[in-house]
Structures are given as C-alpha cells and as structure tokens.
Amino acid sequence: MGRSHFSFHNVKISRKLMSTEQTMPISSLGSQHKSESKRMNAEQTLQISIPESKSQLIKVVRVFIRKRYRLVENDQANVTIVDCDAYEARSMLDDLRQQYPDRTIIGLSVSDQQDDSVIHVQKPFSQDDLIQALDKASETVNPSKIVVGEKMGGSIHQAASAVSDKQADNDRQVARNGISTRTNAAQYNPADYLQEALKTAYNKSRKAGFNLRLDVWWQPIIIFPSMGKVWVDADDQKLQAFCRLPLKTFARHHSQEAQRSTEIKISPEPMFNTNKLSGSLQAMDAFLWKVAWWNAGGQLPLGITERQLIKLKSWPNITRFLCPDHAVQICALLFHAPVSPLRIAEILDIESKEVYGLISAANALGLIETIQNQSITPVKPSASSVSSTANRPNTGLLRRILSRFNRK
C-alpha cells in the first residue's frame, strides 16, 4: 500500500502531568520536585498521530488526553496510535515502519497482539489504559526516565505537607477541579479513603442522634448531627493532602504516633461547647462532598464505569459545594437524561477527570442513580429534546445570555 492510501491526524502530546505521587517517596517529594521538573523539561515531548479512518477513535483519544496534551502537525509525530482492527491496518503498520522506522506505535485491538514492536492496548480501553500506554511510549522516547522507590517515611503530617509542597503550583487547580495526578486506575475504591469512614460515621451519628468522634490516624473529626455540622482542626490544604492517599497508607506510615491500630474508631463525643473549638464548623454534606471529591482524584468510584448510563436524582447544592468550572453543565446533563460519564466529557469537550470527580462527589451523597437497563437510548441534549414547546428560547439566545455570566 502506498502512502497516498491513508493519511494522519496529528496530535502532539506534551507531558504536563506525570503520575509521580504514588511512586515517589512521599517524604522526599518536596525536595525532588524541582529536579524532576528540570528532568521533565529536558525530555522529548510525545507527538502523536492517529490514522484518519477512525474518527470516533480520534474523539475518544482527544477526550482522554485533553489539556494534558496538545494537537500538532503530522511531521512532528514520534508516536502513532493505530486501530489494529481497522481495515488495512496491517499494511498501514508496514507502511509506517517503512517510512518512520523509529516511530513508537500504540496498537488498539480487541484481541492480544503478538507484535512486540507495538505497545498494545486492549479494547475496550479506559483513559488510564491509554495514559499508561503513552507513559510507556514516553519511556521509549525518553529512556532515561527516573526510577523511584516505594517506601514512605515520616509522619502523616510530614507526608501531607510534602504532598502539598510538591503540588504547590497545582493545588488551586486541583482544589477547584478535584483532579490529581493519580492515573493508574480508572476507578477508585471509596472504602479505601476517608469518605466511606465519614459516611459510616454520619449514618451512625444521625441514627443515634448524638455527637460522634471519628479517628482515622489523623486529626479527629467530630460530627454534630443535630447541627448538621462537622469539625476538624485542619484547613482545606491539609485536608486535601490527607484525602489524596488511602487511609491505610497513612496508617502504615504513622510511625511517630504511639498507637498503630489499624482500626478506624468511631466513638461517642461528649457534649461540649462548640465555641471553644478552634477552626470552623462545616456543613456535613459540603464536607463529605469535598472529601469525596479529593478522594476521587478525578476517578470514578467502583460501581460506575466510564460508559455506564447514570443519572442525577437531584441537583447538588452547587452554590455551597466545592465545584469545578463546568459543574452546572455537568449537573444539567446528568439531571436531564441517562448519560455515561465519558459521553458528558465528549459533549462538553472537557477533561473527563472533571466530570468523574463531580460524579464521585455526588455519588458519595447518594445523588447518583445507575441505570441498570443499559439499552435505554440516552436523549441527545439539545433544546429541542427538552421540550417541543414553541416557547422555549432558541439556543443562540441562551448562549448569548450565558456569555454574560462568568461561570468560574
């Protein structure tokens, strides 16, 4: 097959984010951050091309890599993503190898591939599958990638601070969008994080009707069900840092504390004057929302997949909850009709982690309904689908009104 038989879409990928926080020693994250940044700057950026034949593939890849990477011209590509199930994929690969012998190829297929020269991603693939493949491709392009240890040291507070230091430049974005650099799985297990312990404690305190104290190897969290408030002696930055890691990871490295119990403790808290508490009382729902948001790190909770149809039972209190820029749009889509998380990211053309984070937080509050009958055809979101009534304003008008509001 000659070159004229196919063409390429071109995607340049610059590695703005890396999954370092789970593989680097936590205690050394702060000190290693600067040197790592220099190293990353010295790395050759990934430049990716995608064969034209699969426009759907391009859309999916674009959604998956949005804002993390950027699209560029074909002649700069050093990585190509090929749909190996596509018609004439074999000749396409042969042609690629002939024209670009040094090019790294990522192959997508439903079956295992025998070709060792291709980085294989099995269909159906998730965002993290693709990111992992791209990281692997990056190692090929940049073989000097640092190998880091797994051991953590220091106290919880040092660890939390180190995480915060490392993320200093990124914290505001993470705080608003709930996006972390944790990318090694499409889903997270809420049971591993603070949110599940918090939910359990909420339920117990509401049922019992008295104050409870939750001890999770960190600051005690005190719940006042009658007031609908929760108290913890930590600011959002510390809380966010704590929320990034699984509870037992913190517990394992809580070596400076006297007790090393592996149990989460929920115990009655005697009544006392809340005026004596330092720090502020926070609304229980808003607190659980942001804890879940940070726990999720832009991932979906177990039980909800990227392509599963879900629905919002009712709108969250978005004026009082920590929300991303597109929270209103995401909620409107979820509230309107069953839709998959991935589809929302596609419709809004935003990074999927923003969508997944919000869904995780809403799910923690019991606001997400999963649709068991996946054969239901989701309604295409448009003015005409909401109602056929002639009184509905047209999309152009709505857009002009919307342009007057700063949605951030």
Binding site: E73, T319, V328, F335, D349, P381, S387, P393, R407
Partner: protein
C-alpha cells in the same frame, strides 16, 4: 432588536429585588412602598408593582429582569409580567413560617410558564434557619412531578444568583456549550 424576559418570583422577603440588583447592568427600577400590613413585620418596604433590571446581551439584545410583587393581593401582576418569559426563578425565604407551602403555591400559580419553559429555585436565609433542608424542597418538587434545580442562595451574592440563572439556562438546553474547541487542529492529509 431582541427583547426577552426573565421572571423572578417568590414570597415577601425572599430577596427578589436584591437578586435582580445583583445581576442587573443598570440600577434596578423599584416600586417599593412602605409596608402597611402584615408585611411590615418582615420588612420595612415591599414591592407593590414590579422590580425591573436589565442585562445587555451581545448584539444589542436585552434581557429584562422582572421581579413580581411578593404579596398575593398583587397577583394580577404576575400573569402580566410572566407572559413571554424565557424562564422562571423562584426565590423562597427559608425563614418564613412555611416555606414549603410557599414553594407549592408559586409552582402552582406559575404552572403555565413552568410547563412551557423551565424553573430554577433558590432558597434564601438558610444561614438563619436551616430547616426545612434542601431535600425537603426536592420532595415537594417530586410530589408535583417537577424536575428543577434547587440551591441555597444568598440574593446579595452575584455568584449565587448567576449560578441559579445558569442552572435555569442549562435546564432549558443541557447541551449548551459556550466554549470553542480548544484543540483547534487542522487535520491535514499526508
């Protein structure tokens, strides 16, 4: 030039006048009079005809913001004001004796507008009185088979009011997307 209306309604003291003032491009026109009846127990002045504000839209169009008088004895104004509205914002004062009843009342009275457009509900004064909670409002909506966004709102806060208006707009068209393609790539053939 396009002229469009957005309606704010709700009981006395819910913050309609304040909400309009917080997003209007021009100083709002108010038709307040000193309250002379039961209303004076809640506020000194009250709206007797309407509140009016305006937002200037790109292209020279205007979005007129109308606030209905809160007192029921001025309800003849409600239909006049709401005719041709693009949507309805209901503000409910959580510090009134029965805010859930207030919600039911206004949902019923503006049923025609809600059916042909959409509604968004903002609950004010929740910092003063947190019961009923938002879930109670959702239950009222559920009983009336109405699906709508409900948030806690401070009518003085422009961001809160903006979010409520945006929720209304996205309820009218969930697929609305202002942003242009960020990945403006011209795919070229090799």
């Amino acid at each position: 030039m396009g002229q469009h209306k957005l309606i704010f309604t709700g009981p006395v003291g819910a913050g309609k006048t304040t909400a309009i003032a917080s997003i209007s491009d021009e100083p709002p026109v108010r038709t307040d009079e000193a309250a002379t009846d039961m209303t004076k127990q809640r506020k000194r002045d009250t709206t007797v005809a309407l509140d009016y504000g305006v937002m200037h839209l790109p292209g020279g169009e205007k979005l007129h913001l109308y606030g209905t008088p809160g007192q029921e004895r001025f309800d003849f104004m409600w239909e006049i004001l709401s005719t041709g509205g693009i949507g309805l914002m209901i503000l409910i004062n959580n510090n009134r004796p029965d805010p859930l009843k207030d919600l039911s009342f206004f949902l019923q009275r503006f049923e025609a507008l809600i059916k042909t457009t959409a509604v968004a509900i903002g609950v004010t004064q929740m910092d003063i009185k947190d019961e009923p909670c938002l879930n109670d409002y959702h239950l009222v909506l559920q009983k009336m088979d109405i699906r709508a966004p409900v948030f806690e709102v401070d009518a003085r806060n422009k961001t809160d009011v903006s979010l409520l208006v945006q929720a209304l707009l996205f309820s009218l068209d969930p697929g609305l997307n202002l942003e242009q393609e960020e990945n403006n790539v011209e795919f070229k053939t090799a």
